[in-house]
Symmetry: C2
Subunit: 654 residues, 2 copies
Amino acid sequence: MPMPENVQIGSGQLAVDRSFSIVVTGVHDASLDREVHRFKTQLSRQTGIPFWPKAAATPTLTIHADHGRDAVQKLGEDESYDLAISNSGAKLTAPTSLGILRGLQTFLQLVQMTPSGFAVPAVAIKDQPRFPWRGLLIDVSRHFIPLDVLKRNIDGMATVKMNVLHWHLSDDQGFRVESKAFPKLTGMGSDGTYYTQAEIRDFIAYAHDRGIRVVPEFDMPGHSDSWFLGYPELSSGAGPYTLEGGAAIDPIMDPTREETYKFLEKFIAEMARLFPDAYFHIGGDEVDGKQWDANPKIQAFKRAHGMKNNQDLQAFFNQRLQKIVARNHKIMVGWDEILHPDLPKSIVVQSWRGQASLAAAARQGYSGLLSHGYYLDLMWPAGRHYAVDPMSDAAADLNPDEKSRILGGEACMWAEWVSPENIDSHIWPRNAAIAERLWSPQSVTDVASMYVRLQAVSLNLEWLGLTHRSARTHMLQRMAGDADISALRVLADVVEPVKDYSRWDEAKQGPIDFHAPLNRMIDTVYPESDTARHFRDLVQADAQSGFKDKAAEEEIRSWLTLWRDNDARLHPLLEQSFLLQEVKPLSESLAEAGAAGLLALDYLGKGEPCPESLRTSQLALLERAKARQADLLLMVAPLVEQLIDASAGQVRPN
Amino acid sequence: MPMPENVQIGSGQLAVDRSFSIVVTGVHDASLDREVHRFKTQLSRQTGIPFWPKAAATPTLTIHADHGRDAVQKLGEDESYDLAISNSGAKLTAPTSLGILRGLQTFLQLVQMTPSGFAVPAVAIKDQPRFPWRGLLIDVSRHFIPLDVLKRNIDGMATVKMNVLHWHLSDDQGFRVESKAFPKLTGMGSDGTYYTQAEIRDFIAYAHDRGIRVVPEFDMPGHSDSWFLGYPELSSGAGPYTLEGGAAIDPIMDPTREETYKFLEKFIAEMARLFPDAYFHIGGDEVDGKQWDANPKIQAFKRAHGMKNNQDLQAFFNQRLQKIVARNHKIMVGWDEILHPDLPKSIVVQSWRGQASLAAAARQGYSGLLSHGYYLDLMWPAGRHYAVDPMSDAAADLNPDEKSRILGGEACMWAEWVSPENIDSHIWPRNAAIAERLWSPQSVTDVASMYVRLQAVSLNLEWLGLTHRSARTHMLQRMAGDADISALRVLADVVEPVKDYSRWDEAKQGPIDFHAPLNRMIDTVYPESDTARHFRDLVQADAQSGFKDKAAEEEIRSWLTLWRDNDARLHPLLEQSFLLQEVKPLSESLAEAGAAGLLALDYLGKGEPCPESLRTSQLALLERAKARQADLLLMVAPLVEQLIDASAGQVRPN
């Protein structure tokens, strides 16, 4: 995963055992050497076999690249490779060593446990990406994410052949990059957690080694509260500014003062040197303009320049900004809102709004990236992200020229509700589904196959040190104190966080407290419940058989029994923990859902319809189970509802 | 854990919440600042609460040390502390900041989940160690252990208040320290894995920050094969030497040549500068002397010097060595074999042979350390290590002066059968029981209490990044491929590796292959089965009630049922994996044991004795279950045997 462009299955397999050896022919540089070393380390972890350096008469794997890589990875650099595996050996060839990186990841995913040993199947693969820009945005402003966590996510991205880390480095809640020219950006604009320039250089080299570009984003003129603590003169209002946020008015930069551009000239020059990538992201999203409206000097400026609205003023700002970015030999990237006819066609528009916006940009001659549909913080299931295609909907009607302007897309991990502890589980494994969408041919759309492969890749990612599965154990244990967590795990396995932006309603609840502990059940559970998905498949299979699928029914019954009995096991623990008291009703609901499901199964088994009055009372009971509780959703409740309806001879539309 | 010397329980508790704050009065240095920072990080991990710097009117925790620490930690440096916690605040005081380190670990262990929030109970603790030397030996020669793994083990040691890492840095299988004077020691005497001097300095500083001394061991004149690859002139035989070992004769240094001492003079001077600790371990164990016997020049030397045997020759070598060590301002430490009347009383003898040997040394005026009984590689249960006391047996009869020469002890993690992947689970949590033996008063001996606290500390250790529990999941998954591992876990939970040195019989099986993969079931399971211990307690409770303890019986029945049915679930997986084929009979045995136990329970339930013929056939069936299979022991088999006997009205002696 992602599925290669072309796969021909052969017969037989190649053993991966202690005699495994590698020979590199063709191009041979330090970056490739490091990659081969990492490959062997990873293969060792997967198999438990230590591979000692040895001379081999016939190598197991021959690697050949025609050309090396550029010092700075380019958009569209050749990533293709051929991998041919027979039972006597494997050969990986590629035009560039970047393709070798991609091919080695494919090889690692092919390693299987067999009755006779570890092996890779005989296969011939020709592969190249569908889109040249396949990114993941990580927001490190709302919650600071340390470099070791980012590095393991880079490893994960390399596994699924993503090639851009979009690093959202500044926002209202913190400025995260050391500036030597403007030290107060971090000195006052952060809580002391940020990256030094030396750390950033090291991190960029780390990402480059893994075939990943690092595109920095400094969000302006909005989302820039953190800049103003140290440099209030940049802002359009009077301040004072704090990192806690919560001001009714979102602070914005003042685009009418020349000093603003002098500052940005110096700042962008410094950052352009620090970040070698050809692209430079200036944000540009969600400028509400209230500070502009409230400032008479800015109003006067708008009138003097014949600007009709704040969009014109932002376009004016962006034009100035674009010239600065261009003078530093960078291409400007920004969110939908930067799109304006006054801006040159060289810019790239990243769409959080959707394919229509992307298509409109492409028609006007702008390049674009899709992020709408790829927001990992919305807690969607992988399958829903997987169904979103950059070339679908409005983009489907573009002509080939226009289509070529759609460079790819980016998954987005906004960090309002993630910490270093649980960010992995919010990115993985779902991000792998988006990675496949952006790499594999458009025709690869089988969701069931995707989920099977997602499970396998998820296990592989744990070998890399990602904690998307293991961290939950610690977090559950924290809530449980010293107690046994098996019953708590049963509950955690069938719930998901509420979706979209419904966790927190700022209008009703006030500003988000970014220092609040993220140690509740909602922070602990996975965005997508594998158990609920599996149970859904079972119920579906049973329903399709007219509730005569005995194997499915038996498994459904054992799940329902587990759930019915779980609250009794779990209850004493919930009483003991202040963090778990909020999930008491949820645990009761699970027990009720289990009991209701079993009752339905009994009627289905007897072939006798459940009386309507009983159906009505059971469905009423399920209302609580279906409702949001402790900001969580009990994902199996609607499926039990289906069983109840079926037991009464009703079919509920899916 | 370890249990403090004196604990007075108060009433009430002190909340640990977002307002938690710390004030340091008295001595204040960089090392203490770092410790306080680590404390807060660890507290954050345990609670999930991010503690932001803030000014507090009344601090939650006040820390006061009278004196700072020495740049090099001394044996016997004051580690005592007082910790007073009330519901309004906590005060930690100590004569030195080393005591503060110890007290902060106690505080972390007191943090509990309660219905009203995280809290520490009101308590007054006065604490100091029983022994000044509480160590853990880690062998990094047989399998190289990288520094990140060692560092997390240092963190674990600090948690249980151990204060010496004994670093076994050279042995036949590899020399692990960079020597600038003799680069071929690692250049030819290792597989390329070793520590540079810069890394070692960094590691020693890391350990010092956590109150842990680092004592290096360079084993000589035996166990020194790895020296001879680069410097064959040091050896008593002709060679050639390889790291693979397997020579019938163990290579030994030549103690008769002056060049040997010139080499060691230069080498020890270099190492004495690198390792600041006052103690320097020269090994000295297991010198079989065959190379000496085979060398006519060495035989002539012995005769010329009137030496009766090889012990005399080794004592001669040790005397020379001791003078070199002393000239470098170090105190020599060695294993039992170095004890010889010709050596000065200043040396320290580490006993792998037992308290008798230790007592003999103490009577002769030598200081000593106990390691016999603390070998973690023997796969003993924690309770067995816990029962070993340095002052018991022969040492119990020593007079106070002699007793004062017993400085403490060391757990030993010999690395023939551990890799970086599973070394944590072979050290932890059992090492915590040994740490308690060496810190807490001799009267603290309640094994049941120890196990309860061991479970709690084991959870805490996972927060530090130790993988003694989490790594098993990955290793089981590796053996299972992509399959579900729940049934495999049931089996893994009730087996233990064979004990002592019975895994490998070199006489029969030839030399150990140190490059072999450690990815089998025996490498994956814990040295001690918690499930089996729990089941033993249940059977004991039921037996003591005359098999009328309904609660115990119900739980026994559910375990036996799980085991009886597990092989059917597990079998398809075992067929698919070459690594699991060897455990097929074991899985069958578990099913048989489950069925036999259930049959016994039925007879016990009916109050009707199981017929003798049935008992005999059931016991015969259990013979395979009790036997070693795949180098594993099915720990529940003897308990099922007890049930069978009881069902036939027989009582089997424990």
